[in-house]
Amino acid sequence: MDSYAFITQEQRDFITILRDILDKELAPIITEYDEKNEYPMHVHRTLCEAGFNSVTIPNELGGLGMDMVTYCLIGEEMARYDAGFAFSFNAANGILKAVYTHGTDEQKKYCTDRILNDGAISCTCITEAEAGSDAAAMRTTAVRDGDEYVLNGTKTFISNGGIADMFLVLASTDRSKGAKGISMFIVEKRHGVQAGKHEDKLGIRLSDTSEVIFDDVRIPASNLIGEEGMGFKYVMQFLDTSRPFTMVYAVGLAQRALELSIKYAKVRKTFGQPIIANQGVNFMLADMEAQIQAARQLIFYAARMVDAGIPLGSLSPVIKTFASEMAVRVTEMAVQIHGGYGYCKDYPVEKLYRDAKIFTIFEGTNQIQRMVLSRHLAKRQ
């Protein structure tokens, strides 16, 4: 937290509370849950009791109403412990972003109440086996039947899919219109909603990733968010403003990789001196620091833009590509510095290296991000 010059005393206090909880509750069990490929729900509950799930929820809805900078400081710190946990903890609130921007007052109150008071965990169901960023290929359908919609389809790679109580679902209400026929719904876990395959992933294994199957699920028509056919547009809008801040977890895990590498390079001796004395090693450390700092400052700059109500524009794909690739490079160097030990599970950098890779893939692959970024450039005079 000393790497952000504008941190307030209040924000420092939040980080202290967070560290206190995560040192005792999460740090000792990370390896176990990484092996088990499971989300530590009891840590989730403890953090919720301390208020960490209500940081950005507006005051009038019972949250703490804090800014994006505070959210990022907390996110980075959480990811210093475990990026997968941090990602899932945040994704548990995922439904709120969509509801706050496009939902009715009733929907806002309902979803906030479910999450803050009932302790519900939400997830966002967009991706399908044959439709990720290519929304027009979406096969999940929602057919209007009187006062209800009937939902059918299978979603894949859903973060928190196996542990969620409520789902933000994209489904086609008019397949002839492609992406413009997609609508967005609030779906509660009830008869017909089922978790499918629990994915056995390379990294971020504390984060639950599962298939979610909707089989003739009837939901009230009032659970439609906004207008029919606007779902894909809504998602693109909120992902554009949330994606850069998911990358703060890449910064957190890279920061941890750097800290471990410095520590190791000081104690590991070869030819009678610590390896940090070798330029081949300490230049790697210098590169790690430079790249982490650059990514962090990009994200905090973007956070201040969001707090000031300025659209991110091309900065969103810039951050997604830069920060995610930074994390992969930095953790690779961390493994390199640790040598053979770094390649073994006995040392935590092995896990960090595995955790880093997802950041170039999820939330829109870096190739899609470059496509979006180049479109921004093509529009320039």
């Binding site: 209040e10 206090d13 009791e49 301390a50 208020g51 703490l64």
Partner: protein, 208 residues
Amino acid sequence: MNILVCMKQVPDTTEIKINPETNTLIRAGVPSIVNPFDAYALELAVRLKEKHGGTVTVLSMGPDQAIAALRECLSVGADKAVLVTDRAFGGSDTLATSYILSTCVKKLGGFDLIFTGKQAIGGDTGQVGPEMAEHLNIPQVTCLMDVEVNDGKLEAKREHDKGYEMVECSLPALVSVIKTDYEPRYPSIRSKMAANKAEITAKSWWRS
């Protein structure tokens, strides 16, 4: 029920340094924490309050920086905090400390139950609590593991070398607390913010 918890701010034991000339702890630059036994005492006190109603006041003797530790106590369930501070208190031994604290208890008045930790880490004397009870002329139960109040009587579970024993005594009373099964709670963001804004008055009854 009105409960008082005596709390000492102590240096984090992992960072202790001693001034070789005065043989006292060097406090500057060393991170300070709430004495762990006092934290257990506070947790027990807050649980009792939550069950029976009333207030929990935390009292500390020490330099101004002890206000930070008092704020920590406020963020985990204490309602009021009082710091008693005076240059003249510097270097107090346990007799002096227990005299000052028990004088404060009399000045504040109205407590049914006084909690202290078994001992402060660092000094490890374990004398201040029992001495306070003597100054105040009230019953004391040391090495407390658990506590309950029924019909105005204190029922205490106290640890000794061969196990534990149940002790009953009248109120007001003073108890000293060991590491219990009740882990001190975590502060929440909200309680932390409220504690940071709370007014804590530093008093120097010595001179009044």
